[in-house]
């Protein structure tokens, strides 16, 4: 068991565009680290460099305190679970799981014992003599896990191991993998594009985009305090509402200019955030759908909206709202107070299953003032102080 350190690790393929750019990341012993991001963000390349399957262009990568840039995969003592499992089709489950041990010259008895143990953990004991072809998707996935487990390696590397499973099985295996990892306490780097997997499985989550690390934090911190608008929009389903708005001074203090409506910002944000000056370039304002609440009657901290669409998900309803121009009657989208408002002012709200809203209704909504997010309009970085 060991810790893993990426220090300025860079990978440039032939086209000179870095696939991974200056990645610095530390995975502690026994930690479950999730690399998450959209496709092409460099997460898989980072994992493959860790496995030794890709050369490292620059920077240093160490496992257990030893730089492994020039160490072959087989000498790194890491085990990898591939997206398509890559089970050896000509071997039985037991042979698949014991293969690495056999290569390393362990005795037959030893191999059989370790395979037996791993199979018990994974509930594969009765399938040991089958070929991969005769297994279901979930079983194959478990064999791929087993192949990693038997080696008791320094680290587990997993490349989207659940993406080939159906939704229900994925939920099951999510818990299963997390359980096994906690049981074995082996440092794990887990790559996925699914932010739900990232949230539920990781001790910490590293969000990547375009080869660069955006933020690495515990799932809750990531959710509550995203460092930039990308992370804010990527984590959470449905994603955070992000509106590009201007700031204005009103009688009650600083307010957001949402079309013709004004929303007061609690004074505390002026101290906790580097808010830009009033009438300046504006900010990107973020609020999560669950922080949009329905109110009776309008007030200074509420907005008047119209229901455009509703998606009933059973346990909750997603309501798509557009801000109503208070002056006009049925204006759907309020726009253009200068060049400040770039997006159509729309909000998604998460509501209880019994909330009887229907399309066309006019709703007054309150945005929970404890959970406002502000990002720089240009760089997208969070304006929170001390970040």
């Amino acid at each position: 068991m060991a810790e893993i350190t990426f220090d300025g690790v860079t990978k440039i393929f032939g086209d000179n565009i870095p696939a991974v750019d200056q990645l610095s990341l530390h995975v502690a012993e026994g930690e479950f680290m999730v690399l998450v991001g959209p496709s092409g963000c460099g997460k898989t390349t980072a994992l493959r460099m860790l496995a030794g399957l890709e050369d490292i262009t620059a920077g240093s990568l160490s496992i257990g305190g030893t730089v492994v840039n020039n160490v072959l995969p087989k000498d790194r003592d890491v085990a990898m679970v591939f997206q398509n499992y890559a089970l050896y089709p000509h071997m039985t489950v037991a042979q698949n799981m014991g293969f690495a041990l056999k290569i390393r010259g362990q005795s037959k008895g030893e191999v059989a014992r370790k395979v037996g143990e791993a199979a018990a953990i994974l509930r594969l004991t009765e399938y040991l003599d089958r070929r991969p072809k005769a297994l279901s998707g979930g079983q194959r996935q478990r064999v791929a896990m087993g192949r990693a487990i038997v080696r008791s390696p320094q680290a587990f590397l997993m490349d989207e191991p659940l993406s080939n499973l159906d939704a229900q099985l994925r939920v099951e295996m999510r818990l299963e993998i997390a359980r096994i990892q906690r049981l074995l306490g082996v440092a794990t780097v887990y790559v996925t594009h699914d932010q739900i997997e990232a949230m539920t499985m990781g001790d910490r989550v590293a969000v990547m985009r375009g080869g660069r690390l955006q933020q690495c934090d515990t799932p809750q911190d990531l959710y509550d305090h995203p460092k930039n608008d990308f992370v804010a929009g990527f984590m959470g389903s449905p994603p955070m509402n992000l509106l590009r708005v201007g700031l204005e001074t009103t009688d009650a203090g600083v307010a957001l200019a949402l079309g013709s409506q004004r929303l007061a910002i609690p004074a505390s944000y002026a101290t906790s955030h580097h808010l830009p000056r009033v009438d300046g370039p504006g900010v990107v304002f973020g609020v999560r759908p669950e922080d949009v609440e329905v109110r009776d009657g309008s007030s200074a901290d509420s907005l008047t909206t119209r229901v455009e669409r509703r998606e009933a998900l059973g346990a909750e309803i997603l309501v798509h709202l557009s801000l109503v121009d208070v002056g006009g009657d049925n204006a759907i989208v309020v726009n253009d107070s200068g060049a400040v408002v770039a997006r159509p002012t729309k909000l998604v709200a998460k509501m209880g299953p019994r909330s009887g809203v229907s399309v066309g209704d006019h709703l007054d909504v309150r945005l929970n003032p404890d959970h406002f997010h502000f990002f720089d309009a240009d760089s997208g970085l969070s304006l929170r102080r001390g970040v």
Partner: protein, 290 residues
């Protein structure tokens, strides 16, 4: 890979598509059936001729009537069938062994271990498939003779191996392209080197491709005349196809005996064909069926 592995002919896992037409009228069915019978008769004609003719003596053949085992009993004294079948077997198996030993690693290299210029080299080797032996026959013959390889089987084996290699490289490369890269990478992470991966992963996975190459090359080499005729100088080392052709061209051997010899020569290739039909189809359509 799946289309390559399970061609639509025989494999159990592949469902036959349902019949194309709605149940046709009964008369149409019978016409169809009749046409198929006619074609079958034509295609079976050579076997019929061989069988019937071989069961006649020379005089019966000339007069047309009667049957006897005479041609079969005198066969070995006219054609050294045993020796020739043995020669064919040696030449076939040795050439195929070389073709496999050379083609499989090369296919692995061209599909999974790409190196500088590997695509160009691959294309050059594959285009060698189009070079007929006759085009380079003279220099080839002189080279092999000068190297002293026409005495035994060596020359013929090497020429067959060289002629079969481009196809086998092509087939193995196509086959391995269908194998996910991750399989090899899993082996590398598990502790294999590339030589180990070749021996312990690639070779076992390639069994269907090996079968295809073997079947196709067996029929090709067993049935070939030109190489055996020119590159095996000792008359006593002749493969059976060459032996038959030379006797036939000489126009002095009795036809029934030639036909009996033909049956002997045709049997191994037919058995291989009937046993491994689907590999043959697979090889023929490699690279075009999806």
């Amino acid at each position: 890979m799946t289309t390559v592995l399970t061609p639509p002919t025989e494999s159990g896992s592949h469902k036959e598509p349902p019949p194309l037409k709605p149940p046709p009228r009964r008369i149409g069915r019978w016409v169809l059936f009749g046409a198929m019978i006619v074609v079958a008769v034509i295609m079976l004609y050579p076997f019929f001729v061989m069988g019937v003719t071989s069961l006649k003596s020379e005089s019966q053949f000339l007069s047309g009537g009667g049957f006897s085992w005479l041609s079969w009993s005198s066969l070995t004294s006219v054609i050294p069938v045993g020796q020739e079948v043995l020669s064919s077997t040696i030449v076939c198996s040795s050439s195929i062994f070389i073709i496999l030993c050379v083609g499989l690693p090369a296919g692995f290299a061209f599909s999974k271990l790409r190196f500088r210029l590997s695509t160009v080299v691959f294309l050059v080797i594959v285009s060698a498939m189009m070079v007929p032996l006759q085009a380079i026959l003279m220099p080839e013959f002189v080279n092999v003779t000068k190297l002293g390889l026409t005495g035994g089987y060596t020359g013929a084996i090497l020429v067959y191996a060289a002629l079969g290699t481009p196809f086998s490289v092509f087939l193995f490369t196509t086959y391995f392209r269908g194998v996910p890269d991750e399989l090899i990478e899993a082996g590398i992470v598990d502790g294999l080197g590339y030589f180990g991966a070749l021996w312990r992963l690639v070779l076992p996975i390639a069994v269907p491709a090996i079968a295809t190459v073997t079947v196709l090359q067996f029929i090709q080499i067993w049935d070939d005349l030109l190489v055996g005729l020119l590159f095996i100088q000792n008359t006593s080392d002749r493969p059976i196809t060459v032996g038959l052709a030379v006797l036939a061209a000489g126009r002095t051997t009795s036809i029934p005996e030639l036909m009996a010899g033909s049956i002997i020569s045709a049997l191994p290739a037919m058995l291989v064909y009937l046993g491994f039909q689907r590999y043959l189809v697979k090889g023929l359509t490699m690279g075009i069926d999806r």
